[in-house]
Amino acid sequence: MIRYTLGRLLSLCLSLIVASLVIFAVVEVVPGDPAAFMLGVNARPDTIAALRAELGLDQSLPQRYLSWVGGMLTGDFGISYTYRTPVSQMVLDRIGVSLPLALMALTLTILIAFPAGIYAASRRGRAGDLGVMGATQLGVAIPNFWFAMILVLIFAINLRWFSAGGFPGWEAGPAAALKSLILPAIALALPQAAILTRVMRSSLLDMLGEDFIRTARAKGLSRRQALWRHAVRNAMIPVLTIIGLQFAFLLAGAIVIEQVFFLPGLGRLIFQSISARDLIVVESVVMLLVAMVILVNFAVDLAYAAVDPRLRARA
């Protein structure tokens, strides 16, 4: 187990390093002169020079890279050029929206997908299974931002149960804050739940075809007991990876949903910064998001080993 953890840790560090290099390259190297890029085509040369000095662009590339990474490791993500506030502050504000949203959506996804997937697998080929499969086929085909628009149309505009968008802030109280996240969470969750249901069903069907299920039946377990005690537990293992990937997607991919609901989350921050050409913010926030995804993957790998003893033994 120690070997495995160390191996994964090494992989984690390597991934973070390579990711940071890629992001640095795309943001600071590719556009040519970042300062000129940020200020646009019509900028005057002396304004550009001033910005270059401010951003420390006169240093060599390796120096700039190291100072950027060093800054991040100490919590300094730079100062936003557009807003003149520390990026770390902006990020903290936005995480207060993105993280609860991602968690709500993930919980909803799991609550829908697990029972649906298990139900479909246990009723394979029959009406229940076909119903679930049909629903999921529809679910994966629906773009989540369109679904969000429909939800707003029905629940916010027509029924007036929810507001059509915006986030009142945690200062308004947890109930109000969470309420504003309900429609977005549902919009995010449903297509993801459709995907996860299919994965759960498929994984479970694979397990049900395995020999050890037959052995369990031969011991006197009923179909249902064999399903729950043996098949479901084993089927969870590949499902874990998908959940990890989905959490990563929910955190970072909620950009579009944040647009629909005018939520001040991380996605919207990236998007606005890109439009404003505020490369400082873009660089650090993207790195942060990628780091979170890599960390979640690492956690999933560890969870894997906790659940599957074969992984602990192997190199």
Binding site: I2, F212, T215, L221, R223, I237, D308, R314
Partner: protein
């Protein structure tokens, strides 16, 4: 009263008839074997008894367990029977256990399923069961996981699970087919021991007549879903009535008529060959252990000679085969064919026939393309009419038709596929063919035919081959000399009859002792 009484059991699956009025009796303490070739319905009979038939199955007749008709029971009632009154052991030990559960938990599950004892008591009883099947506590604590055990050890765990509640009947479906000869002998001994000790009835399904001869009190022979003959073992062997039984027995004890070998003249020279691997590290900073899969092996194979290689799984014979074919780099020694080291020229003169007829061919190619694959080795491969002629000749040599060249491989049975594999091996007129367990996956009657084919080919052309097999009986009839391999080394070699009749090395002796033997009988010709 009979323990198990199957009366007129007929079975259809989705309308296809599988079993036709099967009737069978098992008395307490009796070992009854159902034998037959693949497709005879033996496994289905066992599954019907357990009530574990696949979907779409319809069964009629009666299956009486201690007087109670199992076919009339509801599913919950059947669940109460399974594991408690009937235990079952299946064929594939490597996949029969839940990989993420400890062996202790899995054995205890049988107990907890049927009896309301506390978990700790169930675990104690599981421990006792594991001890009883030969897995002592020091090496096999309850916390072991299946992937830490070998095939034979896993099968013991499966047996422990099946007998944990001392069922009246134990069903074993080909329990040792996937195991090595020596492991097989030990598992069969265990089964015999448990049957006597617990007073159980054992219903054993196996295709291997030799195993049946050594184990069973009574035998039932099945063909195409029917029982064609049944009786006490000794009686049945003494007076076989049904032509199929006789054919089966004849095929099992089939001795091939090999033409004599020519005087020795070296063809293949293997000198001090070593093939070693570095294995993954055991501990974080320790060295990487080196495994010698082939450890200083030397032998000669002469022109026209038929040399056998016997060994159990893991002995290194597959690695040696690949090394002979030039597919593995050597860490020591050398291999020469006709004096040439293994290069394209030597490769041209060697060919191979593999074990699994179902994975030996690319399913997307036609037979003509499949059997001409070795032409790639020739500097000027035959084209056009010459190529067609060679294909036709190769197919007729193996007993097939030239028109078969246009078909796809899935249109052929296992035995036919092996013939096509032999055609592929022969098409370049190689000097040496390696048969790597080439008949092990075939039914007994088909096996006899393919062995006859090989003998026939020996008559028609000078054929030298290395015959690798774990089946000593087959090796005896189809080789002149034999080598015995263990843990990467050749421990004994010599003329076949001599090695198999008076083995010198202890390992050879243990192999011969473990191998189940068919009684040496005279089977009258049909009509007598």
């Amino acid at each position: 009263m009979s323990l198990l009484s199957i009366r007129d059991l007929s079975l259809t699956i989705h309308g296809t008839p599988i079993l036709d009025r099967v009737s069978l009796e098992v008395a307490p303490g009796d070992i009854v074997a159902i034998t037959g070739e693949s497709g005879s319905g033996k496994s289905m009979t066992a599954l019907a008894t357990m009530g574990l038939l696949p979907q779409g199955a319809q069964a009629t007749g009666q299956i009486l367990l201690e007087g109670q008709d199992l076919l009339a029971l509801s599913e919950p009632q059947m669940c109460a029977v399974r594991g408690r009154r009937i235990g079952m052991v299946f064929q594939e030990p490597m996949t029969a256990l839940n990989p993420v559960q400890t062996i202790g938990a899995q054995v205890a599950e049988t107990i907890l399923q049927h009896e309301g004892v506390p978990r700790s008591v169930a675990m104690q009883r599981a421990r006792a069961m594991l001890d009883r099947v030969g897995l002592p506590a020091e090496r096999f604590p309850l916390t072991r996981y299946p992937h830490e055990l070998s095939g034979g050890q896993r099968q013991r765990v499966v047996i422990a699970m099946a007998i944990a509640l001392r069922p009246a009947l134990l069903i074993a479906d080909e329990p040792t087919t996937a195991l090595d000869v020596t492991t097989q002998a030990r598992i069969l001994d265990l089964l015999k021991d448990l049957t006597r000790d617990f007073g159980m009835g054992l219903l054993m399904i196996t295709h291997d007549l030799a195993v049946v001869a050594g184990m069973a009190d009574r035998i039932a022979v099945m063909q195409h879903g029917r029982i064609v003959e049944t009786g006490a073992t000794a009686d049945l062997f003494a007076h076989m009535q049904h032509p199929y039984t006789r054919a089966l027995f004849r095929a099992s004890s089939h001795v091939v008529d090999l033409p004599p070998a020519p005087p020795p003249e070296p063809l293949l020279r293997v000198e001090n060959v070593i093939r070693s691997y570095r294995q993954p590290r055991r501990s974080l900073f320790g060295p990487r252990p080196v495994l010698r899969a082939v450890d200083d092996v030397s032998f000669d194979l002469h022109r026209g000679e038929r040399l056998g290689l016997v060994g159990e799984s893991g002995c290194g014979k597959s690695t040696l085969t690949r090394a002979l074919l030039g597919l593995e780099p050597l860490q020591g020694g050398r291999i020469t064919l006709d004096g040439d080291p293994l290069g394209p020229a030597a490769r041209r003169k060697m060919q191979v026939v593999f074990q699994d007829p179902y994975s030996s061919f690319n399913p997307r190619h036609r037979v003509a393309r499949l059997i001409t694959e070795p032409f790639h080795l020739l500097p000027a491969p035959p084209q056009g009419a010459d190529r067609d002629a060679r294909i036709a000749r190769a197919l007729t040599d193996v007993g097939l038709k030239p028109s078969d060249a246009d078909k796809y491989i899935h249109e052929f049975s296992g035995g036919q596929r092996q013939r096509i594999a032999i055609a592929r091996a022969l098409i370049n007129d190689p000097d040496l063919i390696i048969f790597d367990e080439a008949v092990s996956a075939l039914d007994v009657s088909v096996r006899a035919q393919v062995l006859d084919l090989i003998a026939d080919l020996c008559r028609k052309r000078p054929l030298s081959y290395l015959f690798i097999s774990h089946d000593l009986h087959v090796v005896r009839s189809v080789t002149d000399r034999v080598m015995v391999m263990q843990a990467g080394k050749i421990v004994e070699q010599g003329p076949t009859a001599q090695v198999l009749d008076s083995p010198q090395h202890p390992y050879t002796r243990s192999l011969l002792a473990a191998a189940p033997k068919l009684p040496d009988l005279r089977i009258p010709a049909d009509g007598a």
